[in-house]
């Protein structure tokens, strides 16, 4: 009898042990989640896309301009056939099907302006329909004053951003402008005035403001999960030519196909130079290097969560250490932004904690993945498309739970992954860099969505239904000024100070800050 039934108590014991282990773990998790009370809520949906189709003008149809048009629902014939082939080759490549499934934003592209014939003609050729031929304009002024557009997308080199946006706003045209919002300090103020005077909607192209995990991160900060954050660490690590702005030079580029003088605009007059045209990000005359091009992404990611604004003091240093190819913007750059009065809240005696440093550390000669960290007295948040929070072993807020061994500093107390176990087809190293930072895609209802699409949709909804865009002129002003302070500090080799009362970057007697910022040496 014993030999027949002895299995039953063993079975019962295992059952009990397994159930107890799992249920206890579950209760611990629930207890912790209840304590943290983080709500990863979806943002309110943007308004309907109904009414008459909005008429859009495209100013600049290079790499980014083409991406922005796709987010609006317009892909070139070349891209469509390339994606069709890619999908046939690899059925996990869903770029085409995702593009086709995208919601119709009820817009039409009526006008284009690009100094390179090939780019402008591609827009006319791909997006013209029988009842809506796309008109090409030589200058942006003609385009915004043509009466043919309600809104424009500006995706030109940096030195053209503000002049074009200002002209558009003065013509009563809404603006979607790529980052960095401006190229000089003075035009940052002029653009802000133009937005305020026109009452039109301006959205700066920081699409990560739509990223779902960042919305969860805002709640995490509000609930004081991290305690007093004294250090934020952000990074750029890239190690490929594309990531270092060594873009392809088009075979048809020539003084005949490119309106060189128009490209130069206010930039110093130099003879026709294909490299300057296609790889403009490498020169201060047209671009802003790491501080304007990539620091702005990281700065705005954090500013959207912490709303820390313009730093009191910025120091930067770096050099051209990995791509000595004639460029004059640095490819290794370290920036420290000081916020002596900022606090995310404190779990310690009042007055003990105050102030924060935002660090941006970048190299274009190594692509080791360094996560973004927000480091607080009570916990550290690792931020990307996925969020992980680790309690600090010396935390005040979690001291009891740490003592009771209910929290292990090595194991995240909270993890937020909008799409666990997702397999994404990410193509290039640069694309992967952006995707990991939550700069390319986000998730809604478990589905991958291009965050640029959501950002555009929000802008269009503000135009149609009213409301304030998430990256409007105030956010753009903070982004541009902070980036310019970093560029200035790099050039001056000293700390650059912000005077918040006067809303001015502090210049020493005789210093022309814009001239220093744009100087090509």
């Amino acid at each position: 009898m014993l030999k027949s039934l002895a299995g039953i108590p063993i079975l019962g014991s295992i059952w009990f042990a397994g159930a107890k282990t799992t249920v206890t773990a579950k209760h611990e998790r629930e207890f912790l989640l209840e304590k943290l009370n983080i709500k990863a809520a979806l943002p309110p949906a943007t308004g309907p896309m109904s009414g008459k189709p909005l008429r859009l003008g495209i100013i600049g149809f290079g790499i980014r301009g083409e991406q922005l048009c796709r987010a609006l629902g317009f892909a070139t014939k070349e891209w469509l056939s390339e994606m069709k082939q890619a999908a046939e080759k690899n059925r996990h490549d869903t770029r085409l099907s995702e593009f086709l499934a995208q919601e119709n934003l009820n817009v039409k592209i009526t006008a284009v302006c690009d100094v390179f014939d090939v780019h402008a003609e591609r827009v006319v050729d791909s997006f013209s329909t029988a009842d809506n031929p796309v008109k090409r304009f030589t200058t942006h002024k003609e385009l915004v004053n043509s009466g043919e557009v309600d809104a424009v997308i500006i995706a030109t080199p940096d030195h053209w951003h503000a002049p074009m946006a200002i002209d558009a706003l003065q013509a009563g045209v809404h603006v979607y402008i790529e980052k960095p919002m401006t190229h000089t300090i003075s035009e940052t103020y002029t653009l802000r005035d133009a937005v305020r005077d026109s009452g039109k909607v301006l959205q700066v192209g920081h699409q990560h403001r739509q990223t779902q995990s960042f919305l969860a991160a805002m709640d995490i900060i509000q609930k004081q999960t991290l305690g007093h954050v004294s250090l934020v660490q952000t990074n750029t690590n890239r190690n490929d030519d594309n990531g270092a702005w060594q873009y392809d030079i088009h075979e048809k580029a020539s003084p005949e196909t490119i309106d060189w003088d128009l490209f130069l605009g206010t930039a110093p007059k130099v003879p026709f130079n294909k490299e300057h045209f296609f790889r403009w990000r490498k020169w201060w005359a047209y671009g802003s290097g790491l501080s304007g091009d990539l620091l702005t992404h990281d700065y705005d990611r954090i500013n959207c969560i912490l709303k820390m604004g313009i730093p009191k003091l910025v120091t930067a240093s770096g050099g051209i250490y990995t791509h000595r190819d004639g460029r004059n913007v640095p490819d290794v750059l370290q920036v420290n932004m000081e916020y002596p009065d900022f606090s995310t809240g404190s779990s310690q005696p009042a007055g003990k904690e105050k102030g924060m440093t935002f660090v941006y550390s970048a190299t274009l000669g190594n692509q080791f993945d360094r996560p973004t960290y927000l480091m607080g007295h009570d916990a550290t948040m690792e931020l990307g498309n996925v969020i992980s929070i680790y309690a600090d072993a010396r935390s005040t807020r979690y001291a009891d739970m740490l003592n009771e061994n209910r929290i292990d500093p090595e194991i995240p107390i909270y993890q937020y992954n909008p799409l666990a176990n997702a397999t994404d087809a990410v193509t290039s190293a640069t694309a992967k860099y952006f995707a990991n930072k939550g700069l390319m895609w986000t998730y809604r209802d478990g589905k991958r969505i291009d965050s640029t699409f959501l950002h555009m949709r929000e802008w269009l909804s503000c135009i149609r239904n009213g409301g304030k865009p998430s990256c409007g002129i105030d956010e753009g002003f903070e982004e541009a000024i902070s980036a310019h302070m970093a560029g200035l500090s790099y050039k001056l080799g000293r700390a650059v100070e912000w005077n918040p009362e006067e809303e001015k970057i502090v210049a020493r007697p005789g210093e022309d800050l814009d001239a220093i910022l744009l100087a090509n040496e």
Binding site: M1, S4, I8, L11, G18, T22
Partner: protein, 169 residues
């Protein structure tokens, strides 16, 4: 007398030591399966999706198993399989069926992340080349299939005795 014959026949004339070792092996494997099943049934968030999607071998097949329309069936079958095999081995019921089922389940686990040279191993608690613990557990189940221990320990010992008693009665 007849009972004695049946008993001897079922236990294939093993010595007590042999019988005890086989029963011990059976209980340990049953224990392992049953505990894995219990943990999963008490954790509603558990799914094999991650394991299947990260498969390094026969990827299209495992990715299909992880697809939205199939994964629920896979998860349910896995939990039911683990529990049923565990119960059968612990209680000594249908040992041969349980052994076959166990071998099948383990074959899935083994093939999704096989320790073949040149295949990424992910996190393991030891070092393996072709042979890993899944494969060894499969081999142990082959042994249990070949040498079932119904008569030595378990419910079927009682059932067969009852049947015998009825016949004798």
């Amino acid at each position: 007398m007849f009972t004695q014959n049946l008993h001897t026949m079922k236990s294939s004339g093993f010595t007590t030591g042999q019988n005890t070792s086989l029963v011990l092996l059976r209980i340990l494997i049953g224990w392992h399966f049953f505990y894995e099943g219990i943990l999963k049934i008490y954790n509603p968030a558990w799914t094999a999706k991650g394991y299947l999607l990260s498969a390094t071998f026969l990827k299209p097949f495992f990715t299909w198993l992880a697809s939205d329309s199939v994964i629920h069936i896979v998860d349910t079958l896995n939990i039911v399989g683990l529990l049923a095999i565990g119960v059968a081995l612990l209680l000594g019921l249908k040992i041969r069926w349980a052994a076959i089922g166990g071998i099948l389940l383990l074959a899935f686990y083994y093939l999704a992340h096989p320790p073949f040279p040149g295949f990424e191993q992910g996190l393991t608690e030891g070092s393996y080349w072709i042979v890993n613990k899944n494969l060894i557990e499969m081999a142990a189940l082959v042994v249990l299939y070949q040498f079932p221990t119904y008569a030595a320990f378990g419910l079927e010992r009682m059932l067969s005795r009852n049947r015998q008693n009825t016949i004798a009665g």
